[in-house]
Amino acid sequence: MSEPVILLHDVTKSFGAKHVLRGVSLEIERGATVALLGASGSGKSVTLKTVNGLVPPDRGEITVLGYPVSTMSEAALTPLRRRVSYLFQGGALFDSMSVFDNVAYPLREHDRLEPAELRERVDELLAMVRLEDVGSLQPSELSGGMRKRVAVARALALEPEIMLYDEPTTGLDPVTGGAIADLIVDLDRRFGVTSLVVTHDIPLVVRVAERVVFLHDGEFIFSGSVEAARREAPDPVREFFAAGGIHA
């Protein structure tokens, strides 16, 4: 078995009186693709944000690529965040910048590339998500699917070892959603990227995930293969799969 690169141990998080995570623990091995499922508002995105330190836990330990995320300051997280990319649900593209500048942002921030190299790298990233000739457009001129693909290109710019996807296919048509699924599988196969995917999209889960973790009432009530999730998992998990058109 490969080494774990994401470790959550007894993690607790509350917002006021709402207990989002009640002592959850999770291990994800290098190169694995894990789908994190759960009802809306169950705390999946919060879990994802604790992994790269965007949301600090109230209690518990989080270790990512050997870094003790839960005890690190914002400044100390810089080297880790270069190796862990986050795809936000709405894309989170910068409105004031062109598509080119959005994708170039992390490269300008961390890599000292010559202008020609930068252009070549950005073009390559946009080609990876099947978006050529949109570099000069503003994010407001793009469709939802295109915005998400640009966000994927930006997330891949620093060649991350871990990708955190927050609902990568929500709001996309099936073809674009399928292209995103292909990309996740491709990154796993070609580059050994470890992926944690928060989603409601069951066909995406079936397509990309080796393991499913289900968050319910602040606890992980199931962790296992997709097959086991359909057949042997507790009711809320099987209902989730059934509602997604995948029956036991």
């Binding site: 914002e74 862990v84 986050y86 936000f88 989170a92 004031s96 992390p106 921030e109 961390h110």
Partner: protein, 250 residues
């Protein structure tokens, strides 16, 4: 949370952000592109507002001064009173209030929209520093532009007073300008320029703090924006008192 709690949270948050911004303002790297963009938006975009305000304030000030001094037969001193009032007090404060309303709310709305659409988290997730990327360029741009806007506003206000002095009170333009130049000292100009620098820092930091604190979508951005205008207006007036008191004591 009550009014006191909200006030303490605002003061604490703004103070902390001000310290973070100061710590980064004088160290590299500075986001030059963003700073230039903000210089244009903050400075050039506010020019008409501050100049029109100052022009008419100068004219009204001259009218009121002429009325008041007329009772003592001292209308000749309109130029002095208008110049001193504008350069020491009204120019810096009115410009700060105008720019504070326009720019502070704009900063809060822009950064607030970024916060609620996870763009600020995106900056953090790409191992960049939101204070360096968002706050520092806006603070530098406001600190650079507000003194310039204030100098222009002072000039427009004095010109407004001149119009009234010449066309209504029958003073000669040369006489009016000579009296104005004679009455203004280095201390007046120093106070008139020191105030905008401090007000600018306050305006930008308060706008940024409220923007970064915005939560909950469009409603949250709206609340952050209106709150910013309110906090800036009160802060400028309170700081104006203490800065004036300090300078008079020196």
């Amino acid at each position: 949370m009550g009014w006191t709690g909200s006030l303490l949270r605002q003061v604490g948050g703004v103070t902390r952000l001000a310290c973070q911004a100061l710590a980064r303002m004088f160290t590299r790297p500075l986001d030059v592109r963003e700073t230039i963009r903000q210089l244009d938006r903050i400075g050039v975009g506010s020019l008409n507002l501050t100049n029109i305000t100052a022009l008419f304030t100068g004219m009204v000030l001259a009218l009121q001064t002429a009325y008041a001094l007329g009772k003592f037969g001292a209308r000749l001193y309109i130029g002095e009173v208008v110049a001193l009032s504008l350069v020491r007090e009204l120019g810096p404060v009115l410009t700060a209030l105008m720019v504070g309303g326009r720019v502070g709310s704009g900063i809060a709305a822009e950064i607030g929209s970024m916060a609620v659409t996870e763009q600020v988290d995106a900056i953090r997730s790409m191992a960049a520093d939101p204070v360096r990327k968002l706050v520092v360029p806006r603070v530098w741009a406001t600190v650079a532009m507000l003194p310039l806007l204030t100098i222009l506003a002072d000039g427009m206000g004095i010109f407004g007073g001149l119009l009234i002095g010449v066309f209504q009170e029958g003073l000669s333009p040369t006489f009016y300008l000579q009296r104005t130049a004679q009455v203004l000292t280095f201390d007046d100009l120093w106070l008139g320029l020191a105030k905008p620098v401090m007000f600018a820092f306050l305006i930008a930091v308060i706008g940024c703090y409220n923007g970064l604190s915005a939560r909950g979508g469009a409603d949250g951005v709206g609340r952050a924006t209106t709150h910013t205008v309110y906090v800036i207006a009160i802060s400028v007036l309170i700081f104006d008192f203490f800065i004036t008191k300090l300078f008079l004591a020196l």
